[in-house]
């Protein structure tokens, strides 16, 4: 299917990537041939085939529900672009 500027704007917004209108036009032009190339998958008959999410043939293991790496607040905050009183700080979300 054709991918237009409006569709790119919608995806970019879902992906939280800022994009100018000029970029939206350019990216639509870039993605369209990739998507039509991808669409050759429609030639494959997949009726009755279960989707494969993982090659690992096992149940995900459960672990005991206990804290084993706690008390590392300062380590976690060391890379924060901005912190305040032991928390990650972000622009105001609620007035």
């Amino acid at each position: 299917m054709a991918l237009d500027k409006a569709a790119v704007a919608r995806i970019a917004s879902l992906a939280r990537i800022r994009m100018t209108e000029a970029e939206q036009v350019r990216i639509a032009g870039e993605l369209a041939p990739i998507l039509s190339w991808i669409e050759q998958l429609n030639e494959v008959d997949t009726s009755g085939v279960e989707p494969m999410a993982s090659v690992v043939q096992m149940k995900l293991p459960m672990r005991d529900d206990k804290v084993d790496d706690g008390n590392i607040r300062d380590k976690l905050l060391a890379n924060a672009p901005q912190e305040a009183r032991g928390f990650f700080a972000v622009p105001k979300v609620v007035e």
Binding site: R10, I11, R16, V55, V56, N79
Partner: protein, 493 residues
């Protein structure tokens, strides 16, 4: 001193134990080689002081006869593995300045076994690329040049810095990661050995995630034996990675006999793709003849869905990437571009922090996962993936290992194919099906192209049968007797 950088991992290990040279001498030779290799841009971060401290510990252990398996062996680490207190960028501006407070399991295994860290190797941004040209910190140069042509070539990707460092003798070995071919294709382009283990063989914990159902770490070395030695340490069950396989790790070095008498070698007919260069076809035929001469039996097999592996991959990998890369939002680590609102901050950070190819893949991934397209694209690709895995299962009913070319061409010039994403994606045409099926595969240098560039052959095994891959790889390595050297060797005039 430069002779020390020409050794294989196995020879260096023997030399250290025989006290022919010290770990300090070996480390200094490599620290100098890493510096000399700077024109290649293979390293994003050099860690000479760490190397010296680790080598000192190695010398102390060697002196008291308590050497560990990789004692004193200098390695490069792809900058996708988190290394405690050493910056880790994934080749992206968005992680510039990030210093992990923890160590990835794979690198922790290497240090546990005594290896010495030389630095972090350049890569395609978030491992998304086949030429190492998407790195935010500049492309890597392949140490090889075409005969009579001085244009710099790509080392392949995404583990391009790792491949270039090993080929240029700036490290005895390096870690790589492979999602669709990112260990094997650069190994082929740089004339070295690259091994992608079975999915689940090496822990993914602490490795920056690209596509979680495909990513797998593996060794990049100058011989098959060296790959076996490194894999021995890298592999193993890790409760911190829920897809890590709780299976015993065999003795990989014991699998290197090269005795392949009676082994059935599958030759997938669909890998004879249209427009395949004659020299790729020729090196493949030579490989078949070598294995036959060594007593193996070639059998033709069919992997019917070969041509659909790449398009399926370019739905699944971007879908997983768009989800994995959601964490780069400017809140907890890495780049933050300030904004008036939280959304503005997210959008600005991700627009400035991610490069063009990464943004492209996030957008594709977001699109194929979005409402209305999920079934048509994402589930369809997962169904095709199931069929591709089934094809391999069928093929392995009539053979023990598959032999194919690693890549459809030799290394190309930096800048070539950069404006055509699909042409770039086609680099992985022979490697990506293996990734979708989660199988182990090795690339072994097999010969030179007409203009003097290395070409690799790929051997693919059954799940968790790296041993047969290594055994057949040894047979190819012996027959090929690949002794050609790149035009750039670190520290050589």
């Amino acid at each position: 001193m430069s002779a020390l950088t020409e050794l294989g991992l196995a020879e260096a290990r023997d030399g250290l134990r025989a006290k022919t040279f010290s770990a300090r001498e070996l480390a200094e030779a490599h620290i100098a080689a890493v510096e000399a290799a700077r024109p290649l841009n293979a390293f994003l971060c050099e860690t000479p002081e760490k190397a010296r401290a680790m080598a000192a510990e190695s010398d102390a252990r060697l002196a008291r006869g308590a050497a560990r398996p990789l004692e004193g062996l200098p390695l490069a680490i792809k900058d996708l593995f988190c290394t405690e207190n050493v910056p880790t960028t994934a080749g992206s501006r968005i992680l510039e300045g990030f210093t992990p407070p923890y160590e990835s399991t794979v690198t922790a295994h290497l240090w546990r076994d005594g290896a010495v860290m030389l630095g972090k190797a350049n890569l395609d941004e978030f491992a998304m690329g086949s030429a190492n040209v998407t790195s935010a910190f500049g492309p890597v140069e392949n140490p090889w040049r075409r005969r009579g042509d001085n244009r710099p070539l790509v080392p392949g990707g995404s583990s391009g810095g790792s491949a270039a460092a090993v080929a240029a003798r700036a490290a005895l070995g390096a870690t790589g990661t492979d999602t669709g071919g990112s260990i094997r294709q650069p190994a082929s382009f740089c004339g070295i050995v690259g091994l992608k283990p079975t999915y689940g063989r090496c822990s993914r914990w602490g490795t920056v995630a690209f596509a979680s159902s495909l990513d797998q770490a593996g060794p990049m070395t100058r011989s098959v034996k060296d790959a076996a030695i490194m894999l021995q340490s890298m592999a193993g069950y890790d409760p911190k990675d829920s897809t890590s396989a709780a299976v015993p790790v065999p003795d990989f070095e014991a699998a290197l006999s090269g005795d392949i008498r009676g082994l059935k070698i599958g030759i997938p007919r669909e890998y004879r793709i249209d427009g395949m260069p004659q020299e790729i076809e020729a090196v493949w035929q030579r490989g078949i003849d070598w294995l036959k001469d060594a007593g193996a039996v070639p059998v033709e097999v069919s992997l019917k869905l070969t041509k659909y592996a790449l398009p399926a991959y370019y739905i699944i990998a971007p879908a997983e990437a768009s989800s994995n890369l959601a964490r780069y939002d400017g809140v907890r680590f890495g780049l933050r571009v300030p904004g008036e609102s939280l959304d503005e901050m997210y959008e600005g950070t991700r627009a400035e922090g991610f490069g063009a190819e990464v943004r492209r893949r996030i957008l594709i991934g977001t699109y194929v996962l979005s409402a209305g397209y999920y079934d048509a694209y994402y589930l369809k690709a997962q169904r095709v993936r199931a069929l591709i895995a089934r094809d391999f299962d069928e093929a392995f009913k009539s053979c023990d290992v598959l032999l194919t070319p690693t890549a459809p061409s030799a290394a190309f010039a930096i800048g070539e194919k950069s404006d055509d994403p699909i042409a770039m994606y086609l680099n992985d045409v022979f490697t990506v099906g293996v990734s979708l099926a989660g199988l182990p595969a090795i690339s072994v240098p097999a010969g030179l192209s007409g203009d003097g560039l290395p070409l690799g052959l790929q051997l693919i095994g059954r799940a968790f049968d790296e041993e047969t891959v290594l055994r057949a790889g040894t047979a190819i390595e012996r027959a090929a007797d690949f002794t050609a050297e790149p035009s750039f060797i670190a520290g050589r005039a």
